[in-house]
């Protein structure tokens, strides 16, 4: 059954959206949150586990120190306060994705709280998203539903469980309700998740690959009539796992809620499932009295205390925040807002930075990445940075163009050769015989030979009959098989003969 929707424009005319996000970040520690089993993606099922991950009776979890440090770093990068002391709690539920029948999480004492993130929208508008909390927990195992028509739980005969992911450290980042985004809500949703992803990647605490589930987003949407303060009833769309999908899911839910409200029905508070193929959501589980997790402090884990010294030590290790870095780079490079935005959107900011560090000017680096490499990457369907162009290659190619050894057209050809693995630019120029002969030494040699071959013409030029020079230029061009710069040859001949041009 397809849900009714209003057009986005009509929904915006009638209602004001309120958003909220829960973003789960998988940390890239070597081991799990509470066990020494490896935290590795995609191995043989049930081999990256030990007795703790399988919830065997009588086992004791032990906290991974690096995971705590990563969590504190995330909290600091989100401008949060770091709790002086906090505890883990058991979230009790019975489902085969956790063999313990509880998830070790944090409840009323998150490690980080009261933060914010300033999000820049595509036109430069800044929007502050307030962070309620960031808490630590463990990931659950992976269920595969077998039988049934669709591979989904409905109609499945049984499920298969792989606990390799069980116990992988997670940090769940929860926003406060986000009001006032209006029609920018879908864009803000995408930009917020992108910013969180960028931050954890920049911190080096997560691989941050959304396609692998390293960063997963649950998006809450509710609508209220314009001017009303009280929030509407929200839906929570689970596991929206690409940036594009976050934007689309929020947009769709706004349109769907608007149609429900227009019909006079109340919105049902429920989980929704996102479907990338149809770009719609379907009803999941309604909130029920089964959502009673009976949280209590985890008796097997003692509290965490984060001394202010420790927090400051960790703060001192934080890299420059991505937004500040972008601002600095744009100023350093002197790009216009539009130029810089194109560079960021093309995903070549880091590459340009490296190319400039290797010796190119900002203009040259941008010309090569945006003009030559981005298009090739698109054709090859890879990220520009993965095409295999080294900064040194660009610097070398550019130097050859500036020295007049090759022209731009040849340089592009040489780049193709480099990417095809034919060698360095210099080797390829040599091998393909591409060089523009404007290096004076070989030209002078050819000029001397041409003058010696036609002494009469040389005398005429010396005598002021400059138009006779064509015969000498022709001789030189013939000798260099057309690869000489004729203008330069003419200059050199006149110089050689001591005649003013």
């Amino acid at each position: 059954m397809t849900d009714a929707t209003l057009s986005f424009e009509e929904a915006m005319e009638k209602y004001d959206p309120v958003l909220g996000f829960e973003v789960h970040v998988e940390l890239n520690t070597k081991t799990k949150m509470f066990s020494s089993a490896p935290n590795v993606f995609g191995d043989e099922p049930n081999t990256n586990v030990n007795e703790v991950d399988l919830g065997m009776p009588g086992v004791l979890p032990v906290v991974n120190k690096t995971a705590i440090e990563s969590s504190i770093k995330i909290g600091l990068a989100l401008n949060c306060k770091i709790a002086e002391t906090c505890r883990f709690a058991r979230k009790n539920y019975f489902y085969p994705d956790t063999p313990k029948n509880f998830q070790t999480s944090q409840y009323d004492e998150p490690i980080a709280y009261d933060g914010y993130l300033d999000i820049e929208l595509s036109d430069g508008t800044m929007f502050r998203v307030e962070i309620e909390r960031a808490h630590m927990e463990e990931d659950a195992g992976k269920l595969t539903h077998m039988g049934g028509a669709t591979g989904r739980i409905q109609g499945a005969d049984y499920s298969l469980v792989d606990y390799n992911r069980s116990g992988v450290p997670l940090v769940e980042i929860v926003t406060k309700p986000i009001e006032g985004a209006g029609s920018r809500a879908p864009e803000l949703a995408k930009a917020y998740v992108a910013a969180v992803r960028e931050i954890v990647k920049n911190l080096g605490v997560s691989d941050a690959k959304m396609e692998r589930g390293n960063v997963r987003c649950d998006a809450n949407v509710s609508l209220r009539p314009h001017g009303r303060e009280r929030f509407g009833i929200r839906s929570e769309t689970k596991n929206v796992n690409s940036l594009r999908a976050v934007e689309h899911a929020v947009r769709y839910e706004i349109q769907r809620h608007a149609a429900v409200l227009d019909s006079g029905e109340p919105v049902i508070q429920e989980t929704r499932h996102w479907h990338e193929d149809t770009r719609t959501t379907t009803s999941g589980r309604a909130k029920s009295d089964a959502d009673d997790y009976r949280y209590f402090p985890e008796p097997d884990l003692v509290p965490i205390t984060a001394s202010r010294e420790w927090v400051e030590e960790l703060r001192a290790t934080l890299p420059e925040p991505p937004a500040a870095r972008r601002k600095r780079l744009q100023a350093d490079w002197g790009y216009s807002d539009l130029e810089f935005r194109d560079v960021v959107n093309a995903g070549v900011m880091d590459e340009i930075e490296e190319t400039i560090a290797a010796g190119a000017t900002p203009t040259v680096a941008r010309k090569w990445w945006m003009g030559e490499i981005v298009g090739r990457a698109k054709n090859a369907d890879v990220d520009p940075g993965q095409l295999g162009v080294k900064p040194a290659t660009i610097v070398e190619l550019n130097q050859m163009v500036e020295d007049g050894k090759i022209n731009n057209k040849m340089a592009s050809e040489v780049l193709d050769g480099v990417l095809a693995g034919e060698g360095t630019p210099a080797e390829i120029v040599e091998k393909r015989g591409l060089a523009v002969v404007s290096d004076d030494a070989p030209l002078l040699e050819a000029i001397d030979a041409a003058l010696a071959a036609q002494p009469g013409v040389a005398d005429k030029i010396r005598g002021g009959k400059i138009q006779a020079i064509g015969a000498i230029v022709g001789g030189v061009m013939k000798a260099t098989r057309g690869q000489a710069d004729a203008g330069r040859v003419r200059e050199l001949i006149l110089e050689r003969l001591g005649v003013e041009g």
């Binding site: 089993a37 081999t47 007795e51 991974n64 120190k65 606990y163 205390t305």
Partner: protein
């Protein structure tokens, strides 16, 4: 701490996926009520000036370095499983959740 009644027990049994007969619910409601009452007397002794205690030993920050330790083979992992298929635990599909 509120007293525990038969409805609470039925709710908890549902949460814990435990099937209980009407007689069991009646009996358990009585037994649990006694336990809850007993715990309540401890709360009275503690008084308002004593914070809730989750851990009796004043110990914090028991950490492990992030170094990989031992793991099980799939065979070892599944050795106690009631049912398994292709290296994974085989469990009944649970339809009322997702």
């Amino acid at each position: 701490m509120a007293a525990i009644n038969r409805d609470d027990v039925a709710h908890l049994a549902r949460l814990a996926h435990i099937e209980m007969s009407a007689e069991e619910l009646d009996r358990m409601a009585g037994e649990l009520a006694v336990i809850v009452e007993s715990v309540k007397s401890v709360s009275e002794a503690a008084g308002d000036d004593v914070p809730a205690t989750s851990h009796p030993i004043p110990l914090t920050n028991v950490f492990r370095e992030d170094v990989v330790g031992h793991t099980f083979t799939a065979e070892q992992s599944l050795s106690g499983a009631p049912d398994a298929y292709e290296g994974r635990f085989k469990v009944p599909a649970i339809l009322d959740e997702d």
